[in-house]
Subunit: 457 residues, 2 copies
């Protein structure tokens, strides 16, 4: 526990944002001996009514996130509140349903958990530390990146407060104000790209008999070129759906403005979903539309004073289910870097160097997986390929690991996982070419033998 012992003067950290990244970072920094103040614009999620309509998002916890939670002893608390998902149930547009396991081993599963419940566990754990204080209902107004210090403003009465610190952590999401002010006037590279599909949160409630309407322990996927729907299970037997659709066009969110249009769309695209969702029409008409954005940015830190984590430095589309997991991994890697470098500036630089190449790859993978989930996951070619992948993985566990398995069930850094997957693909191509050549040689030899035999006759 050497690296976690407090320094003589207790360093002060201010974290902006008590979302997934910010509240886990509070736990980690408190363990390192920091006095931590967390400022969050919204109200305390533990006090808010559970799941505001259309905003009760679930997430799939996988290996990276689990490792980061385990490291601070929170994994069991979280798993108790989650539903295991053994694989995907794919509902094809033709009405057929197939199951695709997430892996070949018992532990290769995901865990569905409500975002708000997960945050409540993290905030409780951090709050239990005497040196951690949460301040809900305070918005960051200004960052002085050099002192460093922040000015926070009360959402309730507009009161303004200056807070100095040794380290400011920007955990304030894809549209981070910390990032904007930290990078202001510097040579900062930045890109944000919105998907031209938005989303609506919907629900599959428990059936009239109190039982789940579909197989609970799985992620349900309705692929389709005009719309993609996924559903995560909840402990109470309901599922939370996310319907992704283009904003504009013939078949788009813009056209779902009446009960008739909504029912026609579902009947045509997700024929078996309509009867699972009794509140479908009201939910689509009343729930807000969410947006999806990819953020790549640099720098992630300013000297030894300010650092970004989570969506603030690497927001990704949700289609690989790695947004939360990579944010949790940030907390663990940042902790390791602070452990390995006595100089905090060096630690923050090492953190960016260790993470950014991998989260940039994750951004690409998440974009590609959108295409895969939308267009390919129900095609026979994909199903066969995935089954072959799992078979090879079972036969040659040391040598063959499907990309999905590496991303979801291991902590191999994303870019290394992708590189290894490319090597495996090359082997397959060589093997296929070799097989083809061997086959051709065999055909030739057989033909020659047959010909000779015929001549000999």
């Amino acid at each position: 526990m050497d690296g976690h012992s407090p320094t003589n003067r207790r360093d002060r950290a201010v974290i902006i944002g008590a979302g997934l990244a910010g509240s886990l970072a509070a736990v980690y920094l408190a363990r390192r001996g920091y006095a931590v103040d967390v400022y969050e614009r919204r109200e305390d999620p533990r006090l808010a009514p559970a799941g505001i309509a259309g905003r009760s998002i679930n997430l799939g916890l996988s290996a990276r996130g689990m490792r980061a939670l385990h490291d601070v002893g929170l994994l069991n608390d979280v798993l108790k509140r989650s539903v295991p998902m053994q694989g995907r149930v794919v509902h094809s547009p033709d009405g057929s349903v197939g199951f695709q396991p997430y892996g070949v081993r018992d532990h290769q599963i995901l865990h569905s958990v409500l975002r708000d419940e997960l945050i409540a566990v993290l905030v409780d754990a951090a709050d239990a530390q005497p040196e951690v204080r949460f301040h809900f209902g305070w918005r960051m107004h200004r960052l002085d990146r050099d002192r460093p210090a922040v000015t926070v403003v009360s959402e309730q009465d507009g009161e303004s407060l200056d807070v100095t610190a040794d380290l400011v952590v920007g955990a304030d999401g894809a549209f981070s104000t910390v990032r904007q002010q930290m990078q202001h006037g510097l040579r900062a590279n930045h890109s944000q790209e919105f998907l031209d599909w938005g989303y609506k949160e919907l629900t599959i409630p428990v059936g009239p008999d109190g039982q789940p309407r579909v197989r609970l322990e799985a992620l349900h996927v309705w692929p389709g070129e005009h719309g993609l729907m996924v559903a995560h299970p909840n402990l109470d037997g309901s599922l939370t759906c996310t319907l992704f659709m283009p904003y504009e066009g013939e078949s788009s969110l813009a056209t779902l403005t009446s009960a008739e249009a909504i029912r026609a769309f579902f009947r045509h695209n997700f024929p078996d979903a309509e009867e699972l969702m009794p509140h479908l029409v009201e939910e689509i008409l009343s729930h807000p539309t969410g947006h999806l954005v990819t953020v790549r940015t640099s720098p992630w830190h300013h000297a030894d004073r300010v650092v970004l984590i989570g969506d603030a430095c690497h927001a990704v589309y949700p289609f690989y289910g790695q947004g939360m997991n990579s944010s949790f991994e940030d907390c663990l890697v940042l902790d390791r870097c602070l452990d390995e470098h006595r100089d905090r500036g060096a630690a923050l630089a090492a953190f960016q160097a260790a993470r950014k190449p991998h989260t940039d790859v994750l951004a690409d993978l998440s974009t590609e997986n959108f295409i895969e989930l939308r267009d390919r996951v129900h095609r026979p070619g994909y199903v066969v390929r995935a089954a072959a992948d799992r078979l090879l993985n079972r036969l040659l566990p040391e040598h063959w690991t499907p990309l999905y398995t590496m991303v979801a069930h291991t902590t191999t850094p994303y870019a290394e996982a992708l590189a290894r997957s490319h090597r495996q693909d090359r082997i397959v191509r060589w093997a296929a070419a070799g097989g083809l050549a061997a086959g051709a040689a065999l055909v030739y030899l057989s033909a020659r033998t047959a010909l000779r035999a015929a001549r000999g006759r």
Copy 2:
């Protein structure tokens, strides 16, 4: 002049920024009958002392810019203040000097002009219109994109003014405040990317005899992997140099901190330049470092209320010499779109649709040309290829136009120029393959004939 006739109620345009794009836009919008107010943060360039040390940038005016100036009758005024450049004089690291003409025809030349002088011509021309007013020393503080209206603040006394308009034009450069506020909270895609090389403005003054120290009517280029220098001629016989170098590293701007280091760097990398630049050391030590940024963004407009032009929507690296030219082209294309669409919202949408695909290509071309100028322009392979390009262009003017010629000497949209260049490249590869095959056939036939003759003997 139908399209230029004023409407009944004179529409009011507010332009933010009186740089190259903003001041030419004022001329164009005045011609369309708009009452135009231009707000510019800096002082009137016509009153400022000519060329503040290290900021007197020159630019190469080429076909697109000339066409846009010609359209409003300003071309001759500008050409009078410019120096024609027939081609590039390339100073190789080994001390050798070569000349590469810009084209094969008389008009295929560029015109070097000082940015401040060019702006003065444009501001004078706009200011001569009764309905155009320039307000120097006013900074835009806030944009209300829906009214639309701007709040401008006096740099002198902080006085604040609300100005409403029918159309707000953001011509406020790569870090546009208009863009930022126009896109705020919308699903705007945006990327800004800094080159990891910065630049210093330096000078080659006239010689002691009052004569230019190098051939005046050309762009001088000193290529090199550790630094790239270009020099534009001025009417007084001096040249303005721009030294591009990496910010960091063994041989970088960070290391040029003493007279010895500067002289050693020049002696090693630009052996013939040192003696041309008597103020080299003082200039490098005292001049500020400039930064280079590529900006891609969308949307370029908000309804029929706000539109971006120039660097505000497509800043590019300067290595293709097309930054100013593409900004001037914006003014012309925007004018055509306003002409063709009675509805201004449709006109602004058509403007973005007509321009963005091409300025995105220009961003790529400008990045590639950095590599070309830095690493390839002095290599024999490049010189031969460029000469072959010019020869083909002379022999087959209808069918063969080098990419550089299309970009610099025509107004073919950038993406079309690139596509045509790719087609030409494919033809060359086929021709080369065909030539090779014909050569091989010839060798084979000759050998066979020789063999038969030998056998016959």
